[in-house]
């Protein structure tokens, strides 16, 4: 029995029926990590010892007949920009290579309270800037479906770990598509919640007005379970939404009769892979056959979203990343004076993409350019938001490809930032408007998974979970397992 191949809800059943123990599950997944992580390279830091201790605690609770939560004893991974008390949190950056936070992110606290087992911290693009995990300051992660290709990014380590059986579930963060695009490339389910649904306290900021933590899981059911745990208002995050959290598993309903689906024509951009387009069209047909209503709509400002994003996100990043200066924590390179120390520290320890975005953002905010760039981008953001508002007056959900193509080869776009940025063209507008979206597998092209994105209105997680669950229950795409271990 390959325990690492099951979902969290399946393993939970096995735990409560005492078919297996939490320690057995954790050992199975740790064994899988030992076997395949040299190829996949999903983890930056592993916490095997504490994971086994957590699993043991859960077994004791089961032994005592205590009720346990769905994630209790189920091993998962946290993206390495989520702060963990006493455990290195690097953001895959040399500048934080030795940083050990003295505090837990709110999501980490919530998971601990549910006795979830943490196997380690997952690789990512440095400071979540990138779409391939090649921008990690340490090493690239590989796609478990084809080790020659990227897992996507920036939450590439989280998605690859879940796809490879190196974690049953994971948390990622999504600023412009960083949960959904790697989920699509790795054939797993990634959900970006409504901005403010999940506390950002302890998430190392890239672009604060866009960042959001969310689950990466094997199926929609696990996504709902993780959402139940991590969602909710947090007094430590002023931007978190003060609204009650529904039980998302109540939306795991195989029925979409009467659901109005919108297909925004602007998302089917030039350069989109024909097989991706075919897969999405086929999925729509299937959903209509299952009782949904379908309508093509227009979201005219979509084409400006990418440009606006690459003003707003770098502008916030230039300010958020200013604190990495070598003064009181993190990497320091000594200099002749304080300015020299700043320059040497930041030149040496930041990667090329991070530097590019800091410079872009600094420029966009500079006196004389602010109105033309940053302010203009904020106006575009408002227009993009209005596109969504108008769309949701007509339909319940929007369906688009998650990314224009399937996973590309490692190194293929490494020297072409613009080509790399285009991979986020379908996901970025969602962050600009703050609405939730889920990516789930909807087919394969050349053996690589294709992702479908279902976008909902603000706090409309229940609707997208129901639509995704219905699609999943009527297909087998999520049941395939990346075969790297066996192939090797």
């Amino acid at each position: 029995m390959e325990l690492f191949k099951y979902t969290a809800s399946q393993l939970h059943e096995k735990l409560v029926t005492k078919e297996v123990s939490a320690v057995e599950i954790t050992k199975a997944v740790l064994g899988r990590v030992d076997a395949v992580d040299k190829d996949v390279q999903a983890y930056i830091t592993r916490t095997s010892e504490s994971a086994l201790a957590q699993a043991k605690t859960v077994d004791e609770k089961i032994e005592r007949g205590e009720k346990i939560s769905v994630l209790a004893g189920i091993p998962g991974a946290l993206k390495d920009n989520i702060c963990t008390k006493g455990i290195k949190t690097t953001c895959a950056s040399k500048i934080l290579a030795t940083f050990v936070p003295p505090y837990d992110a709110t999501v980490a606290e919530k998971l601990a309270a549910e006795d979830a087992v943490i196997l380690g911290k997952a690789n990512m693009d440095e400071f979540a800037m990138g779409g391939s995990t090649e921008n990690s300051g340490f090493f690239p992660t590989r796609n478990p479906w084809n080790l020659e290709t990227v897992p996507g990014g920036s939450s590439g380590g989280s998605a690859a770990a879940v796809a490879a059986g190196e974690a049953i579930w994971a948390l990622g963060s999504d600023t412009g598509g960083s949960i959904r695009q790697p989920a699509a490339y790795c054939g797993v389910v990634g959900l970006k919640p409504t901005y403010g649904r999940v506390s950002r306290y302890g998430l190392v900021a890239y672009a604060s007005s866009l960042d959001q933590i969310g689950p990466i899981t094997r199926d929609v059911t696990d996504s709902a379970h993780v959402m139940n745990i991590i969602s909710g208002h947090d007094a430590k995050d002023s931007t978190s939404i003060n609204a009650g959290v529904p039980d998302y598993t109540k939306s795991l309903v195989n029925n979409i009769k009467g659901l109005k689906i919108g297909l925004p024509k602007e998302y089917f951009v030039a350069g989109m892979d024909a097989e991706v387009e075919r897969a999405i069209n086929k999925a729509i047909e299937q959903l209509v056959a299952l009782g949904a209503e379908y309508k093509e709509i227009s979201m005219p400002h979509t084409e400006y979203a990418l440009s606006a994003y690459y003003m707003i996100a770098p502008a916030e990043a230039s300010s958020n990343l200013a604190r990495y200066d070598g003064v009181s924590f993190g990497h320091r390179v000594e200099g002749n004076d304080i300015i020299d120390m700043y320059k040497k520290t930041r030149s040496e320890a930041f990667g090329a993409e991070v530097k590019r975005r800091i410079m872009l953002g600094t420029y966009a905010l500079s006196s004389g350019y602010y109105d033309a760039y940053y302010l203009k981008a904020l106006k575009v953001r408002t227009l993009v938001k209005q596109d969504f508002d108008k769309a949701f007056e007509q339909v319940d959900v929007l369906i688009t490809p998650t990314a224009p193509t399937t996973a590309f080869k490692i190194g293929e776009k490494a020297n072409d930032p613009l080509a790399m940025y285009l991979q986020d063209v379908c996901t970025i507008p969602v962050n600009l408007s703050g609405v939730p979206a889920i990516s789930l597998p909807c087919g394969f092209a050349g053996g690589m998974p294709i992702g479908m994105q279902i976008i909902g209105k603000t706090l409309g997680e229940e609707t997208i979970i129901r639509a995704a669950y219905t699609f999943e229950q009527n297909n087998d795409y999520h049941k395939g397992f990346a075969t790297l271990g066996e192939v090797k």
Binding site: P101, V204, T239, A315
Partner: protein, 478 residues
Amino acid sequence: MDYEIVIGLEIHTELKTNSKIFCGCSTKFGSEQNTNVCPVCLGLPGVLPVINEKVVEFAVKAGLALNCEILPFSKFDRKNYYYPDLPKNFQTSQYDLPIAINGHLDIEVNGETKRINITRIHMEEDAGKLVHSGATISSSDSALVDYNRTGVPLLEIVSEPDIRSAEEARAYLEKVKAILEYLDISDCKMEEGSLRCDANISLRPHGQTTLGTKAEIKNLNSFRSVQRGIEYEVIRQEEILDDGGRVIQETRTWDENKGITASMRNKEQAHDYRYLPEPDLVPIVVDPARVEDIRANLPELPDARKQRLMNDHGLSDYDASIITASKAVADYFDQSVQNNGEAKAVANWLMGEVSKHLNSEGITILECPVSPKQLTELLALIEKGTISSKIAKTVFEEMWSSRKDAEVIVKEKGLVQISDSSEIIAIVEGVIASNPQSVADYKAGKDKAIGFLVGQIMKQTKGRANPDMVNTLLRERL
């Protein structure tokens, strides 16, 4: 040439909330270094600020007291610049939508009332403190950072360039300080840095409406240095203009020891702060009903208190101004009057003996060893004729050092005034008998001679004889 002086002041004041503006750390001054800190004020990765509601309340209070309009919707912004006392390398402040705008304050200089307009009041966080290894920055090879002050709430109060002299600047600053003290929202201790001031100064020929090029003077750390710094800068700019030169727009720092201002950075070196809306905080929405509630509960402010002291207690405009300039002095006055002290006498003693003693010891009235009740008891002894005003000063000295009550001192030292006419007559007659020359002088019309005779009587009674009785009885017998 004679120029018009144009000054605008930026006043920074630390608010005396218990906790910092964006975290729960204590704001206590003088704690051991780096003990009032947490991940939030240290700007560690991943942490988020949460606004301290008390700061908003205090800012609204200050805005209302300074006759401002309170914006129902304001927001925080990031002011980006690199400095090692600023852990995030940006200061969370307010840029284009501050909490309060368009206020004013009336000040009095040389008996004339003048209105100084206030552009804006905004909230922001204070930075930490650098401790240099050497005596000066340039002679130091390293510096340590104390983050205790990081995140202490500040208000910045920005005036319009309506101030026309160093005296006006000082009067304005003193009045703002008094108001903040009356509101009980700041300690306003310039020596501890809880009240700081920058001055923008420019000159222009009289009659010119456009502003001249300004210099911003920083490091004005006392009322005296505000006045001296401005006076120096005005002369410096006058000399440049008189020589046909042009003032450079720059930031200058006041050197208290040398008594000069020196250039810190010019316009080219000026920071581009790259403001951006603070994405980690939501806009501050202040309900108008809450503003009205705060307005209705504002304490009595200096102007109102001064008016009350004049109307209810018959103090002169001058006396009332001096007493109400400090809330603590005005409180002392009110407490004395409540203890049945006669208002005018209390005012005189406050402005005289009390103030003299406080100044010579360099302490404030809050540390005054003589309580309002004790002062009132002393005044009552004068009123009843138990002691003379002259003896009262001696008694006050003794009260100051021993903290004993006036009555106890008078009794212990036998200072009770002699008002028994038979006792005084005996002494008067003795003095007349032993000073025939002075008596003769007086009779010859030399009025001054009586002073000598009174002096002799006082000497014999150690000042205790009732002066009025001495005068009357002496003249009767001459």
